[in-house]
Structure formats: C-alpha cells, structure tokens
C-alpha cells in the first residue's frame, strides 16, 4: 500500500478515472495478455485498472510486473492497478 501513495499523488486523475481493461470472464493467461497489450501502446507512466475474476490473475499480475519491470497491485479481489514503468 505504501508504494501506491507517491503513485497516486503523481497521477492527474484518481484511480476511479483511469482507463479500464475489462477481462471479466476470461481465463489465464488472457487477462495478463490484455493488460500487456494495452500498456504496450501507451507511454511510460500510464496506469490502468485491470478487471479480472480469474483466480490466477492475483499471483500472475504480480509475477508479470516483476518479470517485465512494471508495477501492479491488487486493489480488490477482482480489481488490479497496473502501471507501465518500462518498455517491454
């Protein structure tokens, strides 16, 4: 949670106004592919909300962030914050 404070402060908009990637109902690895596809087209610093009810998303979005040098955080059971921090 501590990580998010400077990030939230740096954002022009609140989390509620971020672009939403809706992967509800899709199974792994689709939600992670959806998040990566969206962020690849965006400039570094772009944040988005990923909606996913797949049980594999919680561990996998964290592993994705570690592997690709980006940022992710689980906000709610089916809601994740992702932020582009590298060109991957």
């Amino acid at each position: 949670m501590g990580y998010l404070t400077p990030l939230r402060n740096a954002l022009p908009n609140s989390v509620a106004e971020l672009p939403v990637i809706d992967s509800i109902g899709t199974r792994c690895p689709q939600p992670i592919i959806d998040a990566a596809r969206f962020l690849r087209t965006q400039p570094i610093g772009t944040a988005a909300i990923l909606l996913s009810d797949d049980p594999a998303t919680a561990p996998d979005i964290l592993a994705w962030a570690r592997m690709t040098h980006n940022y992710s955080e689980q906000l709610e059971p089916a809601k994740f914050l992702v932020r582009k921090e590298s060109d991957f």
Binding site: P29, D54, A56, M67
Partner: protein, 331 residues
C-alpha cells in the same frame, strides 16, 4: 503381460503358520530391511501402508493433541493443508521466493516439514524446529536423508520407480506417537498392504539407487542444459526451480502470455509428456498453490521430470519442441 511369480508366492498371508506363510514373512522382513537401509532408518520403525494419503493423517495427527499448535507450510500437499484446516490451532507458514519455509519456531508445536517439493524440486536447507516433526518425504524418496530430530516420516514407493500403492510410514520410538484411528490392538497401520507390491518396491529401490549412482551426474547435466538453452533462446520465462537444486530431476518453468494446457497438448502432439501447474483448464480453476506461494508465474507452466533413461537426442527433441510450441502459442 505376465504377472510376476512373487504374486503367486504372496497369496498365503505372512502372519499364518504354514511353511509358505513363514517363507513369505521372511521375504517381507527382508524387503522392509532393504527399504529401511536405503532410507537410513531402523527396520523396526517402518510400517507399510497401501494408501499414501492415509499416511499423512497417521503421521501428523498421531503426534498432535487437540489443542496443540500445528504448523504447516504454504507449499505442503493438499492433504496436509486439509488436516491443518480441520485443526483448531493451526498456522500456515509462508515461503521465500526460493521456496524455503519461513519458520516461526514454537517449542510446543507439531510441524509438518516437507523435505523436498515434488513440483519445483526445492529442498529445505535449514533444520526444522518444533516439539514434534512430521517429515513429508513423499517427493524425495531415497534422495535426501531425514533431519536429525524427526518424529514421523512418510515415503511413497513411486519415488524410486516402485509400484503405486506402497507407502512407508516411519514412527520414531521417542516421538510419543499415538494411533489417531479407532483401534483395539497396538498396530500402527490398519494393515491390508500387498506383500507382493512391497517386495516389488524393495527390488525397485535397490535398482533405483544403483541407477542414480551411475546416472545422477547425467541428470544434473541435462537439467543445466535445458535451463541454459531456454534462458538463452526464449524470452519472459520464470523458473520456479532454483539454480543447482537438490533434486535436479525436476524442472518447473513458466512462459508468460502462454496457456499452460495448450502448451501441454502441443508438446504431447510432438511426443513429449510433461506436467503443468497452470490452471488454464475448466477442470481446475485454481492455479498451483506452490507456485502462487513462491510468487512465481502460474500461467504457461510446465514441469519436466528427467528420468534415468533419457537420451541426448530426446533432450534435443524436447528443446526444439518447447521453442516451437511457445513461439506458436505466443503468436
């Protein structure tokens, strides 16, 4: 297929008084002594079980009083996590990214200690600390020896390429173990295990140990070769198995943006049978709890088991197949 002669000899039941039964009892004792020798425990402490999952309950519950703290780890097998679920005073210990159990030493606790993990090949490097220790050796077999302070331990015969349906429960005489099942005699296990299968298991452990002496170094080399090739040629791979593992016959790795079940089937179509800890299929919604506990990628996961009989050509074929299949599935 012929049924081995041992099953013809094994019909009388070893506890009867006939000459055949006495002969069988001698064979049975020899089988137990052989297995005990390879596992590094006294034959008198071993008990033969027909059902591994019952062994988790006997080994762990027999050490535990109703209010005593029970510690298990997040990478323990589902059967052990289920025992923890049903106990009122239990704690699930988390693990490091390398799969090492983060202990929270409690001098009163019963601890479930997984000697080595069957999914990732991770072996515990530290010594367990607790009042009583159940050692899950069902994935390590004759590879790793028990910690000094073990109370009970369980092995599965399949680990030394022995038959399914033979498990070995060891109960240390100083463990204070009590039979948790309803009983009216002093037997440790319910009985009903197959003497024929036990003897087959003893023959198997002898031959597995001999093979491992000759082929163990080759398996480590194959492990390093697969790891090196994939790291060099394929991007976005997460290895769950640490470098230089204690059980190099296992290699668990995950490919980002790949569906594990599709990868499994694509490899099967090319003639390679591997396992997966991914959840990308309708039958199992939950990803591998072991990978999740270690913070590893669960999607696109495959688990390779390297057998004593593997050839360099088979390894080449597998590496090509993995490279092709991953590239195709990533589009």
């Amino acid at each position: 297929m012929a049924i081995p002669p041992i099953f013809e000899q094994a019909w009388p039941g070893y506890s009867k008084l006939s000459a055949e039964a006495r002969g069988l009892a001698i064979l049975r004792n020899e089988a137990i002594a052989t297995i005990a020798g390879h596992l590094g425990v006294e034959p008198d402490w071993l008990h033969v079980l027909g059902e591994t999952n019952l062994g988790f309950y006997l080994g762990l519950q027999g050490l535990l009083s109703p209010t005593q703290p029970l510690q298990v780890s997040a990478i323990d097998r589902q059967e052990i996590l289920a025992i923890a679920d049903s106990h009122s005073n239990s704690e699930i210990l988390s693990v490091s990214p390398e799969g090492q159990i983060l202990q929270n030493p409690d001098a009163q606790a019963v601890l479930s200690w997984q000697l080595g993990n069957g999914e990732t090949g991770v072996a515990q490097q530290s010594a367990p600390i607790a009042k009583s220790i159940f050692v899950d050796a069902t994935h390590t077999g004759a590879r790793l020896s028990l910690p000094q302070n073990w109370s009970t331990a369980l092995w599965d015969s399949r680990n030394w390429a022995g038959p399914e349906g033979v498990s070995i429960l060891a109960v240390h005489p100083n463990s204070g173990w009590r039979n948790p099942l309803p009983h009216n005699d002093n037997r440790v296990v319910p009985g009903g295990s197959s003497t024929g299968l036990l003897i087959a298991s003893a023959l198997a452990i002898d031959s597995w140990v001999a093979d491992e002496k000759i082929q163990g170094a080759m398996i480590s080399q194959v492990h390093q070769r697969i790891r090196g090739y994939i790291s060099e040629r394929i991007a976005d791979v997460d290895f769950a198995t640490p470098e230089n593992p204690s059980m190099p016959h296992l290699l668990s790795l995950s490919f980002l943006y790949v569906d594990g079940e599709q990868l499994l089937n694509a490899l099967l179509a090319k003639g390679f049978a591997v396992d997966s800890g991914s959840a990308c299929n309708a039958a199992n919604l939950e990803p591998s709890h072991v990978l999740a506990a270690m913070g590893k990628l669960t999607q696109g996961n495959i688990r390779l088991t390297i057998h004593h009989t593997v050839t360099p050509e088979e390894v080449d074929g597998l590496l090509n197949a993995i490279e092709e299949c991953v590239a195709e599935l990533r589009g």
